[in-house]
């Protein structure tokens, strides 16, 4: 028996050793990068050690009893027939109850702490989950664009925030899409917004508004994902948070307020393709997409005004790097082929059209 235990221990040790070779996880809940995620970890760790203690006592007890009182050959004597012991029963009812009561005190305190209203200088962002990408709208008054009706700044896939500031996220249900056939419609379903290193998750529930408080201690990139099953491509509904230093943030906001600049050359051809209906009645990009400063204002798809801004690192549910030209071309060639069931239709674009559109998209800094 002891030998077997040793083998088991060796096996576990080997596994842990091998796991050391694994690359670092980038959505690690145990490596919080801001105060709100920190609170959750600070609650989990002590409970974890309490659980380890109980684990050792109970599992150790079972193993010890099983070995100590195992049947020995030739033993015929029947063990004493003990039926119970009321004092023990009361003891092992009360002891766990006390431990749990102790654990619940900081738990309840943290629940209410996290439910508090945000500070006045918090940055307000409305988060919308769509099938299958994230849309962000900066709703504060000083975050209005300088073009069109002066609507709020919108961005897709990457939530850009300043470091060391409280961000107050309002999660709203969205979707409904542009109608059309059932397969292509972008339905209003439940999503869950989750950036593990910055905050716990909250569901995005149609008809309700949920909130998350988050803050990043340092500039950097934080990965996240939709955590609630939301249909076919739930697994590819990724998101990133890019936290910027204060001056970079100012610059970013300033750039976002500006309209897009009409390009020249090939990109200009792409712009025309983008804005005009495609030939042979294939449809049009502007049915869904908006580009600030042009006639394209549709809200159904991602806002592409600053598609090529360096902070917009990834596209289409944050599955591909924006800088990856091949991925972008493949996406335009047939979205369904790279992301089955994508709500962006396949417009059967020619290679020349794709080249022009890619040039245009890359001009949208």
């Amino acid at each position: 028996m002891r030998k077997r235990l040793l083998w088991a221990a060796a096996g576990i040790g080997l596994l842990l050793l091998l796991s050391g070779c694994a690359p670092e996880a980038t959505q690690d809940t145990l490596q919080p990068q801001g105060p709100y995620a920190e609170k959750l970890k600070d609650l989990f760790i002590p409970v974890f050690w309490v659980a380890v203690f109980v684990f050792i006592v109970v599992e150790g007890g079972i193993v010890w009893i099983a070995i100590r009182y195992r049947h020995r050959k030739g033993r015929e004597r029947i063990p004493a027939q003990v039926h119970g012991n009321t004092r023990l029963e009361i003891g092992w009812t009360i002891a766990p109850a006390l431990i749990l009561a102790g654990v619940m005190v900081p738990t309840v305190a943290t629940i209410w702490d996290l439910a508090r209203k945000p500070p006045d200088d918090a940055i307000n962002v409305t988060v919308r989950g769509l099938q299958w990408w994230w849309d962000f709208e900066y709703t504060d008054d000083d975050m209005r664009t300088s073009y069109g009706d002066g609507a709020s700044i919108r961005a897709a896939d990457v939530l850009v925030i300043p470091e060391d500031r409280v961000i107050y996220l309002s999660l709203e249900g969205a979707g409904g899409g542009i109608g059309g056939d059932a397969e292509a419609r972008d339905y209003m379903v439940i999503h869950s917004f989750w950036i593990p290193e910055l905050a716990g998750k909250q569901d995005v529930v149609p008809g309700r508004t949920n909130h998350i408080l988050m803050q990043a201690d340092h500039p950097g990139m934080y990965e996240g994902q939709c955590a609630e099953f939301c249909g076919l491509q739930h697994g590819r509904m990724l998101v990133r948070v890019r936290a910027l230093a204060a001056e970079d943030w100012e610059a970013w906001v300033e750039n976002q307020k500006q309209a897009s600049v009409a390009p020249t050359g090939l990109a200009r051809e792409g712009m025309d393709l983008f804005l005009e209906p495609l030939s042979d009645g294939r449809g049009s990009c502007v049915t869904c997409h908006a580009v600030g400063g042009t006639d394209a204002t549709a809200p159904a798809g991602p806002d592409l005004t600053h598609f090529a801004d360096p902070t917009h690192e990834c596209f289409a549910g944050c599955n591909w790097e924006t800088s990856d030209r091949d991925a972008l071309e493949a996406w335009l060639r047939n979205p369904d082929a790279v992301k089955l069931g994508s709500k962006m239709p396949d417009y059967h674009l020619s290679e020349d059209e794709i080249d022009a559109l890619v040039a245009y998209l890359y001009s949208l800094k």
Binding site: T26, Q27, T29, P79, A80, R185, K201, H211, H234, G235
Partner: protein
């Protein structure tokens, strides 16, 4: 059932079936033991199918950007894995053991309503086949076992309709079965068997049936609402038309959490039977084990919203449900301590059954501890909908539930089939399954804490989740090998000559071991009169007046079938086999297909079939005339 006749007379439309053996007898049987075997065999087949789905899942996730399945196929497979394991394996497997052993353990000749029992089984079987026919009819359910609205009502595939109809059908089976078994336990106990002389397995069975009776109507209502939203244009859960998707969550989990205890309480019952037998000691604190089981049943109805901590119910609700979730850990802990008290100073024999029980308790403890961390609401904001949860409930349902089932298989196999399973193979299976199980689900705790979401068909390499996913996949195949070993064990055991006497191979304690193995159709030649908990044990061993120790009683005294009454059983009347439960059950999937395709004539055919079945059933005398 004494005089088995081969001549049959016309009674109503169909000839009264008389066969007690042979293939046809299985379709008309209303013997709780045969139905129990049918339940068990069917559930095991579904277990294998669900296991194959699990292997597909693990193979897909063995590396980043897996291509074995596409998103659509993966969503179908993980949904059907969950539905299969919960509704088509664990529940019916528990029903199999309850069906077979509750009457035997309480000294009854059958369940209270034998034909209803057959009806339950057939409805369950047809419900399962209906659900699986979806793979060939345009797509299986793809919305997860919880099938959250509004995704479920908007989904353009046929899957969620199959889900709603399939679960309504299996729910009918479970409800009928639950009423039947609850009435059996309450009304049909042997003389002298007060409720506190009933084995804990039977007690847990009673609690489970009551949980089902009270929780299934809730999910049935929700499933009908879902069905109406999808098929008839209502808007119960449609947020675009004023419906409330959170309503579905409340209804689902108000059923779903008691359901968790429906899945695990049978295991508690099995542990509580196996431990005393193989420690040769009575269960420690019988009343406390029973009452903690009842307490778990009650509190189980008050914790549902801990599945919804991230749904935004607000701090008041989250506090209340966090606290209630913590409270339910207390009676669960009481059980575990009592099991430890049972084996303490026992004479522990490490048979396969005992190993699976000890291992099962140890795995369940891990699942219980990770469960307590869910009551820490803010920390659950991080863990919910991640692989941490997947790890947790597999430690509970697989580690607790499935280990218990294998324990029960090894323990009761000789009783059911008159053959022992091979112990050496059993021990190897246990070791392999324990290693495979922990290698599969242990790393999932880590994956969840590292941010791997549930129900995802892929993950990018950049998330750094590859290593532990690979480990989990290796573990899954180890589990598959261990299950194969079990099948091999069964085949070997049944290809050998039948051993002479396995009436009581474990020196057991409860009534079912007082009759032959396998038991006769009428269970007991003479119904035993019960004087104590562990009646059989007390007949076998008496206290030596001089030393106070237990010593074997005089030979013969323990024998259930006393020589005096050897012929008494010939006067026993048992209900005769019947076609009607099968006919009535057949109507259910027919109605469902009709609703599915809006073929109203087919719905009519289904209703007519069911009505004919019920009519024939009602008009048929329970005992065939020439059987008197």
């Amino acid at each position: 059932m004494a005089t088995v006749t081969t001549t049959a007379r016309r009674e109503g439309i169909l000839r009264r079936p008389m066969a007690m053996t042979g293939v046809r007898s299985w379709f008309t049987t209303i013997d709780h033991k045969k139905i129990g075997i049918l339940y068990g065999a069917t559930a095991f087949v579904f277990f294998v199918v669900g296991g194959v789905e699990a292997l597909l899942i693990r193979t897909q996730l063995a590396g980043p950007d897996g291509t074995l399945l596409n998103a659509d196929q993966y969503n179908e497979v993980f949904t059907m894995h969950g539905i299969t394991m919960i509704f088509l394996f664990v529940m019916p497997m528990a029903a199999a053991f309850f069906n077979y052993f509750i009457p035997l353990m309480i000294g009854a000749r059958d369940v209270a309503f034998p034909r209803l029992n057959a009806y339950s089984y057939w409805v369950f079987l047809f419900g399962g086949l209906f659900l699986y026919s979806s793979f060939f009819l345009g797509g299986a359910p793809n919305c997860g076992w919880f099938c959250y609205a509004p995704n479920s009502i908007f989904d353009p595939t046929i899957g969620p309709t199959f889900y709603a109809l399939g679960l309504i059908i299996t729910g009918i089976a479970s409800t009928a079965g639950a009423v039947n078994l609850a009435v059996t336990v309450i009304n049909m106990r042997a003389p002298g068997m007060s409720l506190f002389r009933v084995p804990v397995f039977v007690w847990m069975g009673l609690v489970v049936q009551l949980l089902l009776v009270f929780s299934l109507p809730i999910i049935t209502v929700a499933l009908f609402q879902l069905l109406f939203d999808r098929q008839f244009g209502t808007h119960f859960f449609d947020p675009t038309a004023g419906g409330d998707p959170i309503l579905w969550q409340h209804l689902f989990w108000l059923f779903g959490h008691p359901e968790v205890y429906v899945l695990i309480l049978p295991a508690f019952g099995i542990f509580s039977e196996v431990l005393p037998v193989f420690s040769r000691k009575p269960l420690f604190g019988y009343q406390f084990v029973v009452f903690s089981g009842i307490a778990i049943g009650f509190i189980g109805f008050g914790v549902w919203a801990h599945h919804m901590f991230a749904a935004g119910l607000g701090p008041v609700a989250n506090t209340a449900f966090g606290v209630s979730t913590a409270i339910i850990a207390v009676p669960t802990g009481v059980k575990i301590f009592n099991w430890m008290g049972t084996i303490y100073r026992g004479d522990i024999r490490p048979t396969s059954a005992m190993l699976f029980t000890l291992g099962g308790i140890m795995m369940f403890v891990i699942g219980g501890l990770s469960g307590v961390t869910h009551s820490i609401v803010p920390s659950d904001y991080q863990q919910t909908d991640t692989y941490y949860i997947v790890a947790h409930f597999h430690y509970v349902i697989f580690g607790g539930g499935v280990f218990a089932f294998f324990s029960a298989m090894f323990y009761w196999w000789p009783k059911v089939f008159g053959r022992l399973l091979n112990e050496r193979l059993g021990v190897i299976e246990f070791v392999l399954m324990t290693i495979g199980f922990n290698l599969t689900f242990g790393p999932m705790h880590i994956l969840g804490l590292q941010g791997m979401i549930r129900r995802t068909y892929t993950y990018p390499e950049s998330l750094g989740l590859t290593f532990w996913n690979q480990a989990a996949t290796v573990g899954a195949f180890l589990i598959a090998i261990s299950v194969l070993l079990f099948i091999v064990n069964v085949v070997i055991s049944h290809s050998k000559a039948k051993p002479a006497d396995v009436a009581d191979p474990w020196d057991a304690r409860t009534l079912e071991w007082m009759t032959t193995s396998p038991p006769p159709v009428h269970n007991f030649d003479e119904i035993p009169t019960v004087h104590a908990l562990d009646e059989f044990w007390h007949r076998k061993y008496v206290e030596d007046e001089r030393t106070g120790r237990l010593v074997p009683a005089q030979a013969g005294a323990a024998n259930g079938h006393d020589a005096d009454h050897a012929d008494g059983w010939q006067a026993i009347h048992l209900p005769s086999p019947s076609y009607w439960p099968l006919v009535a059950a057949l109507g259910m999937p027919v109605i469902a297909y009709g609703v599915l395709y809006s073929w109203w004539w087919l719905v009519g055919v289904g209703f007519a079939t069911a009505l004919i079945g019920f009519y024939g059933w009602a008009m048929e005398p329970s005992v065939s005339e020439e059987d008197g």
